[in-house]
Symmetry: C5
Subunit: 355 residues, 5 copies
Amino acid sequence: MANIRKNRSRKSGLPPGTLVHIGEQKIDVPKITLIQYDEQDFLETEDLSLEQCAGKAGGFGGISWINIDGIHDIALMEKAGELFGVHSLTLEDILNTEQRPKAEAYEHYLFFSLKMLSLNGNGSNLLSEQVSLFLGERLVITFQERPGDVFDPLRERIRQGKGRLRKSKADYLAYSLLDALVDSYFGILERLGEEMEDLEELVLRYPAKQTVTRIHNLKRRILVLRRAVWPLRELVSSFEKSESPLLEHSTRLFLRDVYDHTVQIIDGVEVSREIISGLMDLYLSSLSNRTNEVMKVLTIVATIFIPLTFIAGVYGMNFKYMPELAWKWGYPAIWLVMVAAALGMLWYFRRKKWL
Amino acid sequence: MANIRKNRSRKSGLPPGTLVHIGEQKIDVPKITLIQYDEQDFLETEDLSLEQCAGKAGGFGGISWINIDGIHDIALMEKAGELFGVHSLTLEDILNTEQRPKAEAYEHYLFFSLKMLSLNGNGSNLLSEQVSLFLGERLVITFQERPGDVFDPLRERIRQGKGRLRKSKADYLAYSLLDALVDSYFGILERLGEEMEDLEELVLRYPAKQTVTRIHNLKRRILVLRRAVWPLRELVSSFEKSESPLLEHSTRLFLRDVYDHTVQIIDGVEVSREIISGLMDLYLSSLSNRTNEVMKVLTIVATIFIPLTFIAGVYGMNFKYMPELAWKWGYPAIWLVMVAAALGMLWYFRRKKWL
Amino acid sequence: MANIRKNRSRKSGLPPGTLVHIGEQKIDVPKITLIQYDEQDFLETEDLSLEQCAGKAGGFGGISWINIDGIHDIALMEKAGELFGVHSLTLEDILNTEQRPKAEAYEHYLFFSLKMLSLNGNGSNLLSEQVSLFLGERLVITFQERPGDVFDPLRERIRQGKGRLRKSKADYLAYSLLDALVDSYFGILERLGEEMEDLEELVLRYPAKQTVTRIHNLKRRILVLRRAVWPLRELVSSFEKSESPLLEHSTRLFLRDVYDHTVQIIDGVEVSREIISGLMDLYLSSLSNRTNEVMKVLTIVATIFIPLTFIAGVYGMNFKYMPELAWKWGYPAIWLVMVAAALGMLWYFRRKKWL
Amino acid sequence: MANIRKNRSRKSGLPPGTLVHIGEQKIDVPKITLIQYDEQDFLETEDLSLEQCAGKAGGFGGISWINIDGIHDIALMEKAGELFGVHSLTLEDILNTEQRPKAEAYEHYLFFSLKMLSLNGNGSNLLSEQVSLFLGERLVITFQERPGDVFDPLRERIRQGKGRLRKSKADYLAYSLLDALVDSYFGILERLGEEMEDLEELVLRYPAKQTVTRIHNLKRRILVLRRAVWPLRELVSSFEKSESPLLEHSTRLFLRDVYDHTVQIIDGVEVSREIISGLMDLYLSSLSNRTNEVMKVLTIVATIFIPLTFIAGVYGMNFKYMPELAWKWGYPAIWLVMVAAALGMLWYFRRKKWL
Amino acid sequence: MANIRKNRSRKSGLPPGTLVHIGEQKIDVPKITLIQYDEQDFLETEDLSLEQCAGKAGGFGGISWINIDGIHDIALMEKAGELFGVHSLTLEDILNTEQRPKAEAYEHYLFFSLKMLSLNGNGSNLLSEQVSLFLGERLVITFQERPGDVFDPLRERIRQGKGRLRKSKADYLAYSLLDALVDSYFGILERLGEEMEDLEELVLRYPAKQTVTRIHNLKRRILVLRRAVWPLRELVSSFEKSESPLLEHSTRLFLRDVYDHTVQIIDGVEVSREIISGLMDLYLSSLSNRTNEVMKVLTIVATIFIPLTFIAGVYGMNFKYMPELAWKWGYPAIWLVMVAAALGMLWYFRRKKWL
């Protein structure tokens, strides 16, 4: 699959509400999954069409959760808009994968747009996937860019019917999804924290050029995380305080909890930023230290041997009348002078604490 | 055309409301274009006089959009003020191209002043043009410094009559213009972002003097972008919350969308600033690294050869009584000593990880 | 005991309110202590079961303070939840030792989560232990991670029955616990301040590589302290302003005092951060100074002797026709030239203030 | 005139409201000018006594503007206080030339204190003069430290009777004075901006020691400008929102304009500060670059010639048994070796991109 | 007197309201002075006991000002609490000399805690003394750590009976004390400002190691000043807005003035901080400049003489077949070559602007 990234700027000049997919297409054919449950029943269906989903959801008294992996299919999105009454601006937000996390309350539904973050294999890259969440009455729709998400434990809980989930309304499902996403940030923050500690040791032990590249890369990933997390605080807070009838009182209490987690992550991110910038300073000081050390070695060797070489040079001159050359003890004497000069130098360096 | 830039300071001491063009004159003769449309009809006229425009706009039941390219003609501006009832302070704002983006509500109209940004050919310069927007009842007037703008796709949409635009009131046209301008910033942010990535690689690979100049230049352009974008947030927000009867409820929803885009751009700009300042640190550390490397080469060569030269110097002395000189194996022995000293040094440098 | 640290990320995907202990298990078997008192009586019991505690607390007209050391036992926590009516989200907060300090008001109780900080033996590490505080009517429960706390003087005051404590309600006990914790931060701030002063002297006297490591370590500890203290301000303030009937008016006055202490500690932490970042600059300048000094020694020695060596080299050449070599006073003359050159150099360096 | 600067600290311990002139006396004898005008008449009188001014102002139905150059004469100030009903705290503010710009509303008058800034001849110094403005009914009094101000164009406008000024009330005159002052800041910002651009080029081309002094000096001037401008925002805003009956509605609209200009200047100042701090970084990097270059030259020359000198030294030894010395092609061979070594070094440096 | 400094941490675990003196004891026996005055009478008594003071103050219709120098005597403090109705928390604040400046309104009195700052002899240390102020009806009590304060001019004013002071209520005395304290900060700011200017010159002329120590020390003193001044703004503002009946309307106007002074000092402190951090940059760049200069001298001398020494070395070799040695003009020719090489080098350095 070629790089089919579409930049935000492609939208310039198009009428607002025009549906354009912004970002990279990450899956070939969108995949739709429907989970339906109430306190007694549970039903999971795959590979339905959107119309089938809408029909099934409409004819069911419990909660329906439609998950759509792959959002690049404009026609599909337009159909979703029609079937579930989604405003065109909401659809535009779903398609724009560079959207800032945000929450918006419409008359008949609440809408959230968030980032699902994951580190690649060796942790050197922080992948960001947009997850949009539509919360209607008895209906939750999630839009993802590609298959694979952090919601599997949640699905398992629905299947097994343990806990509050099966007994609660759709808002509790929405909350659980939000909670799962926010919880997943903790894992990322922890891995970045571990890498930071590794780098800290490296910087102090041996400041190589790659170290600085890694510090810079880590800083970038923390900036990505930060950009995903900061708007969350406002988002969760506005969700919690929303007067929408879709939201039960008990769920608000749980949202307060998510809010606390968000603040905790933001705290962690900010501390990480501060430590990272300290690491850069540490690296520079470490480097200066090394340069200083190299300089000292050069200076010690050069200041000891350059004068000695000069003395040797003097007695290598070919003047006819150089009385010292004929002295019997001239040669040993000059050795004595040279050794004394060298020792003097060494004593001086020791006093200067260079040795 | 000579440089006829007029600075802001030229205005000092003039009575407020005195019309003085501040900035560079970018076109010889102002050009006026009139677009008129309603749901059925569409009319585009060029090269009219302002009086003609005013007459046509007054006698038409739909929306009229007058675009004026070139704002240096004071007489024309005064005429516009009379014909359309524009306050002298508004005219002053239109003429002052160093005006900060702002919105102001007057009794009969709303006024916006924004920056239209564009990168020059090779992207090394960010050009800023002031666009002023007057929104009256059934009338929108845009003032630009020179021909050429980001509104062509919008004109095309009016011509083709697709979408909401032809069915909506003048406030929707004003919103669409605002939206087009804000969308154009995304393109600029993307190009600057690409340049930033190039620079990042350059800095890590080979930190040349030009690199630092380019970083500085990029920083300046980001500051220009920032200065254009920051006031936008407040501007859009005050527009959205304005109680002017000129503003329909449905348009407010769209303005919320523009607001989100503005915040997204501001976010991007702030992240860019942070990365840029990180680049500068990276550059400095890269430079220190190179100095350190140069130092090491010098130190290695000098510390190996200076002592050897000293030894050679000793046996170049002309003392009469130097027993070693007469030894049969003196010369090979001295070579042995010298090779051993050199190897010892090399071993020391390897242990210090300088090699 | 092996390292059984459990990270926050382990919780991802679990239903909210699921009790999972996050952090390191620091004690084998939880230890429960009950202190009961009113103006006349005082009773201290150890090693009870939770049920016994609940029974005793229920049947007593005075204040009961239950202290639990060790929170990793989920079953125990759940029992506590049942017996004292603690909400599952509160239990989750108690178990999550990476929780940000916070206060929450429930219908029948107030809940606080704080950090108890202590420096290890040589002060190089700042240990953080979570202390959770449940304030009900006539009942205070404290949850700690391990035995040993800063509350011993408080216990002594209860035992001796001096002061207000025995005459006041449970809210005053809660306040006293809070006050003891906040007061303990002063001691830590003072020890860090002393270390900072030591480092300051070290940096100015002799900037070694370990110094920078110590500065970095100190900075980290201050960041830990800061993270524990900042949320406290809001916490105490919300406690003070809480409308809970559990809180007497007179206690609010005392809380105002705790609030002032919190602000004082925050002030101290911020000043410390500023001084620390100044220390880093000082270290770098100190290092540059040393490099400069090393350079000067090298330059002085090299610039004096390299030209002299050259002169000696010239008269070591073996040309047949070198008239100077045959001069009677050639050798002393060349010495004169060399001494003059060396003195000239020295004079130049003195003028440059290098000597 | 000797330096008779009086510091703020001289006031310590004096009762509040004690009139003490703080600052440098900049004129020998205060000079009083009276301008009186209404729509028809215009009268300009110089060298009056304050009593005469008060009499003339009282007996005139139009606007009177009294300008006093020189504020060090305490007796005069006290008389002004009596004649025009100025509160002693206001007089104290007028006399204290180190006063922060501020606005205050008293029952019968409004009071402003501002800074009039001017660059000296070569622009290397930013002079600050305090201008105080008293706005009563039909009366404006301005207090300046010395003759010469930015109000001459305004005086000309009054004389010529063009524009709104002659038709408006005293509040419009006060606004015009404020506007003239704020406009004068633009000129200063522009000159500083030009100097900044010069410095930018200098830094990139040749980083001399004077450059850094100039950067530092520029920074100081920008700090002075900033200190004068920041409080202005609040000042103008409070003026605009003041409920004083002295203020007409139409003037408020114009004040809004001044407010915009103030914000624009603050924006400019903040951008300048950011660029200045970037310049300092640029300077340091430029300096590091130069050091790196000097190091390279030294390293190249030294690493090429030191080994060659060693080789020459070896064959300058006087051992009896040195077979090479007797070889016929020994000398040319050794030249070959030396040239090869030098070329090898050069190739190595080229590969390292040092050449 | 031995160092009997008592740290804040000593209080940990003591019941709140326990009176413990925190800080250094600075006087042996507390000294109590009573000044009583009304419009007609004035009475100054020294060395009274507290009971006598209370009696005298109670039986006098005018204003009584009790000044206590020395606050380490707990018994005395407790007696003061009883006699004048001071809350135990207020007493605790008086005794805690590390208290942050604060104001608190109790039912029957207002309480302030401030810092009196003074520079020691050579200005290298900023001493901080806590001054607490109790304002009751017709009674002001000041608590100081040691004799000597900035209130002498105020006492003189009371004695002489000039100005408002003798005619006003106790709140005006409290205001005057506050004003005197705030005014004394100006003197300190000025002395620090002068030192800053000295340092600025030093840094640019000759960056020695002591300079950086002095910059650091100056920074510390500014941080102390800042810590004393920042809370003052809030303090004065809350005093001014306090609804206490102890406060006359006219005094509020004067407090507004103190507020302005406070803001002015804060401004000055912030500008100083910025300039100080600029000084550090300046120092570092100055140092880099010097290193660069040292490097240049070394490089010039070494690159000129090392090649020449090599040439001399070549003709010092003892090969049998070296035709040049036998040439008649060999020696002068080689001199020519060497002079040419040296001149070439010099030309190169000049072109590089190193000379």
